[in-house]
């Protein structure tokens, strides 16, 4: 058994435990309705978290995600309102913009050799500022294409599997493929294992870095599209702090924040776990919603301590060599 899988097992175990607790308290929760809502409500977060996983696996971080999502919504809403461009074209334009934005950040990170934290922090300011500059108020979206996007498939048990829920699932599938079955994915893990070593092994560090943040930008844009479908509007003050929620999902999913180790599937479980906690609190009704934050904080602590313990158990100690 590969010790690398232990954090993932822990993640799944905690998720199952959470399911069990929910089921015991509220048996009603075991319905496709809840499942469908879970997928739909967390679709935007899940998609963003896929991009974040890839970034964190490479040893980096992307603080701009929340702002890019808000920017996306505003961009779409304003273009829909002010131009005659067909909606799919607007989507394509948006994705091009966010991907290019991500690529630019990746390029800066590589060219300037500066910590991703600060560069993506600048990106966060820039994206949020750009959103403000487009509009200060919320802009509603009224568009026939959007009606289509709200389609859903009725599952047995009256649960709704929405299109955006499916998009999230597909995003995770794509993320998993990229991480484990492409050379790019191997390069991502390599960078997370050590930038200099990766370079010596032949990884094109600059190209890969640009690709990583471009991918995160693309996912943020896609998440923005999904979020605008979900809320029906573009609002520049939306999704403040989403990047941190995404990071929390990635950590709870078993990925090391230092990079090099983790699974995209784990992030999916992490997102579902966080969604489950939220649902539980809503069902309960008596617990104030800020308990969500406290519980998630507690989960984070648990996972991080777990990861530390596992790291100690599985690393071979050798004298003199650099890790």
């Amino acid at each position: 058994m590969n010790p690398r899988l232990y954090p993932l097992y822990a993640t799944v175990a905690i998720f199952l435990l959470a399911c069990l607790i929910c089921y015991i308290q509220f048996p009603y929760m075991a319905s496709t309705r809840v499942l469908g809502n879970l997928l739909t409500d967390n679709a935007y977060l899940g998609i963003a978290a896929v991009g974040m996983t890839i970034v964190i696996l490479s040893g980096g971080i992307d603080l701009s995600v929340g702002s890019v999502i808000a920017f996306s919504g505003v961009f779409i809403a304003v273009l829909l309102r002010d131009t005659n461009l067909p909606t799919p074209v607007i989507f394509a334009l948006l994705l091009a913009v966010t991907t290019g934005f991500g690529a630019a950040m990746g390029g800066l990170i590589h060219a300037l050799a500066m910590p991703p934290f600060i560069v993506t922090l600048a990106g966060m300011f820039l994206a949020r500022g750009a959103a403000y500059m487009l509009t200060i108020d919320s802009v509603p979206i009224d568009d026939p294409f959007y009606e289509m996007m709200r389609a859903y498939y009725l599952m047995p048990g009256k649960g709704r599997l929405t299109l955006i829920g499916v998009v999230m699932l597909l995003s995770f599938a794509v993320g998993m493929l990229i991480a484990h079955r492409t050379r790019f994915g191997a390069s991502v893990y390599a960078l997370g294992g050590g930038q200099n070593t990766a370079r010596l092994m032949g990884v094109k560090v600059g190209q890969t870095t640009v690709g990583i943040y471009a991918f995160s930008g693309f996912m943020a844009g896609l998440s923005g599209i999904v979020f605008s479908v979900y809320t029906g509007s573009g609002y520049p003050l939306a999704t403040v702090g989403t990047e941190l929620t995404a990071i929390a999902a990635v950590v709870i999913g078993g990925t090391l924040l230092t990079g090099g180790s983790g699974y995209v599937f784990g992030t999916f479980i992490g997102v579902m776990t966080m969604g489950l906690i939220q649902t539980y609190i809503v069902f309960d009704g008596t617990l104030s919603s800020w308990w969500t934050k406290i519980v998630i904080g507690g989960l984070l602590l648990l996972f991080i301590v777990l990861q530390k313990g596992l790291l100690r158990l599985t690393t071979v100690r050798f004298g003199g060599s650099a890790a």
Binding site: N2, H180, G185, A186, A190, G202, V203, V316, G320
Partner: protein, 506 residues
Amino acid sequence: MLLTIRSLTKTFPGTVALDDVKFDLAAGEVHALLGENGAGKSTLIKCLTGAYRPDAGEITLDGRRIAPRSTGEAQELGIGTVYQEVNLLPNLTVAQNLCFGREPRRFGMVSSRGTKAMAEEMLEGYGLDIDVSRDLGTYSVAIQQIVAIARAVALSGKVLILDEPTASLDAREVEMLFDVVRGLRDKGLGIVFVSHFLDQVFDLSDRVTVLRNGNHVVTEDIAALNRVRLIEHMLGHALEHEVEDHTTPHDGTAPEREAMLHFTDMGKRGVIESFDLDIRKGEVVGLAGLLGSGRTESAELLFGLRGATSGTARDQSGPLKLDSPRAAIGAGFGFAPEDRKTDGIVADLSVRENIALALQARRGWARAIPKAEQAKLADMYIRRLDIRTSDAEKAVGDLSGGNQQKVVLARWLAMNPRFLILDEPTRGIDVGAHAEILRLIHELTAEGMSLLVISSELDELIAVSDRVIVVRDRRHVAELTGADVSTETIVRAIAQHGEPRDGEAA
């Protein structure tokens, strides 16, 4: 000749790293590259591997002139390198590491089954029986190094450069590695072996080239050389009688010294078995043994670095508590660690600050040592230890390895400990500076300091120690005094069955 280098020159602002150097390598030979730190070895290697572009000269491989501009290009031309810090990724599997960049693909996606098969094929003939689907980091350094070699050879196949590959290996692992290298040599590979372990150079190589200060000194067949002549080439003058001058007499003329420190039953479960140790005032106790035998761990226990699970310490006035470095320092101990880069120097701080650091830490955070006083202290030790630096405000990370070592020593000397532990004090230092350190140790003991010296250089250990304790397999197995202190007896005590070993060249 497989590889020829002529007139290679490489300069950096302020220094000439390589000056008109020549070197050649035949197919099917192991050619050792020797030289002190700063001689130009690593610059030469970097020119070969494309990390540097030489300013002048030519490199010819298989009759064709080459000028690699990157490690990738050098690899494609046939030159592969394995470094001391294994340059593979511990968080990926063995198979992924071996096949990185050339993973077999199916329908555009990487095939894990194909990768596994490719990896196993690459490892054939290397004598390893490992599961290639496990993370590389779960295997020992020696195995990781062989995997690195397998990858380098598979990718390049003509020239293999081994840059200090054995520094982290114990004797058994070194033999395993050397068997692999000999196998590759017999297959026709040309191997460049960079090392400062002279024994290993004599053991493995066919020819030797010595560089000094960026110049080519000599290239000879190993059979025509012995250690003394080799060191002469490297240093430019004979070391031996320097060592002799400073050798502690082992003929019973040593004065009787008072016992000062008593360590009883010191041990840590799983790390080192309990040992007793008495330290007398002004004596030097040497700790000999192979890498991994427990020497450093013993020293760390004495300094409070590892939680001892058993044992007590006592001096003339009563029991001593040694549960942390601070406690040990409080008891008058000092410890100059083996790895000065990670454990010794604080790189961005100045020489002055590094020297004053331990003193300041002992004084506490509230009472700062005035800068003038620190400067005086630093100047005193710069002179006493001959630390080569333009001034005391220079960042210690900018100094050469030997001078960094001296700064660490100065830090401890400033504390005036009664018991100083030196872990490999001459490792990675030019041969010339070794004699200086040995001289210093003699001075210190004359002033009444007691020392515990760990060293893999048996000659030097014998030269300074009053008695030698041999450590083997995490146990203190023998204590040698008087006439018993000699290379032969030490080596015999380290080996298991008591028969003499050929450790040294003629």
